[in-house]
Amino acid sequence: MSDYISHDHEHDGIDRRGFLTCMAWAGTGLLWTIKGGILASTTLAQIAKAGGQLPASDLSFLQISDSHIGFSKEANKDVTETFKIALDRINAMPTPPSFLIHTGDITQLSKPEEFDTFDQLVKSCRTKDVFYVPGEHDVLNDGGKLYRDRYLKSVDANGSGWYSFNKNGVHFIGLVNVLDLQAGGLGQLGDDQLEWLEGDVKGLGSDTPIVVFAHIPLWAVYPQWGWGTSDSERALGYLKRFGSVTVLNGHIHQVLQKVEGNVTFHTAMSTAFPQPAPGTAGASPGPLKVPAEKLRSMLGLTSVQYKQGSSSLAVVDSNLS
């Protein structure tokens, strides 16, 4: 993928190619509203090759997602290796990110040994601070106890593991939408978490940039496949008054972006295996087998930059080719 923003005449983060990519998604049945949004995609390798840097910023962090340590099926028999490649890419960045966000599905089956392997691997990352939210694969048999014991040590977590923190004037909110799911339903935040969220943002000025991260998309990507969160509208209602809201999700193992008013929704690639585009005929929302030489082009990570005074955060996806 090489469709990063090269011609940003309006300084609005949209170039022709990005707009067309956007329109391509409109063709698949997703509604796009474009306003002050950003659609950018490049590889960190390209940036390094060009001798360039990511745009100068006040804060940069990285999103990794869906590492699925323990998965060993046809779609990727060595997810440990591809996760290592992702970490190598982070370590090779000219300016290391301030911290990482992992948007869930750390493991495939919530096994202690899978968490152990992940923890060993992530130690090799130059960037030490990692903030987590769980995926449904991390809470399979114990309601998330093992996950919480390991990954919430450095945050002030509430309930089943949600929390917030501030960095460089940006307010980050990590939400849990993979627990107590109801038959026939979608991802779910639940009343307790929503009440907490309302209180959490109450005292913030509307000019505070907000970053929300959770595993399952907080917008209806494709509810027929469970790709959405039943009560996300209520959560977004509490964030409506803010001038800049960036929502980062995983779960669907591919980049999708939607801009709605001041809210930018973005899903990240997995470091383990791709999944089909939403609603692909004859497909189901499971691992997608692609030719071996194509696999790394469909895995990746997401870099996010914030510059004070700008209306939105720049979100840049990089694949592992």
Binding site: E74, L109, H137, L181, A183, G184, L186, S284, P285, G286
Partner: protein
């Protein structure tokens, strides 16, 4: 330290849960009487197949996961013992108990639902 009252409470709770579960469904394969039928439900492409199954009380019901994704079998209203996460080719069995209609779903992918009708 666990108090006596706490122990009693726990015992009452455990008895209550297990007798309730047994009254409806038993998941012990040894309980199947000779000649009872085994009903297979395949989990494939994020669906329970067949989605609805009618069995006789005392029949064994076995789910097998043919997906590369883990799935679970969880009773709506906790009317029978839920499975742990089933990896590819793993099975889970229960024995049908009292007649009635039982809805279940996969707690990992709750869009996946199924129905068991138990007849006398």
């Amino acid at each position: 330290m666990t108090t006596l009252l706490h122990k009693i409470k726990m015992a009452v709770l455990i008895c209550g849960i297990s007798s309730f579960a047994l009254a409806v469904f038993a998941d012990d394969a040894a309980n199947i009487s000779a000649g009872s039928k085994v009903n297979k439900i395949e989990i494939k492409a994020f669906m329970f197949n067949p989605q609805k199954i009618t069995v006789k009380s005392g029949d064994k019901i076995t789910w097998i996961n043919k997906d590369e994704e883990p799935h679970t079998v969880v009773s709506v209203g906790k009317k029978f013992q839920k499975s742990s996460a089933l990896d590819t080719d793993q099975e889970y069995s229960i024995t049908a108990g009292a007649p009635g209609t039982y809805e279940y779903f996969c707690s990992v992918h709750p869009k996946m639902t199924g129905t068991i009708v138990v007849e006398k």
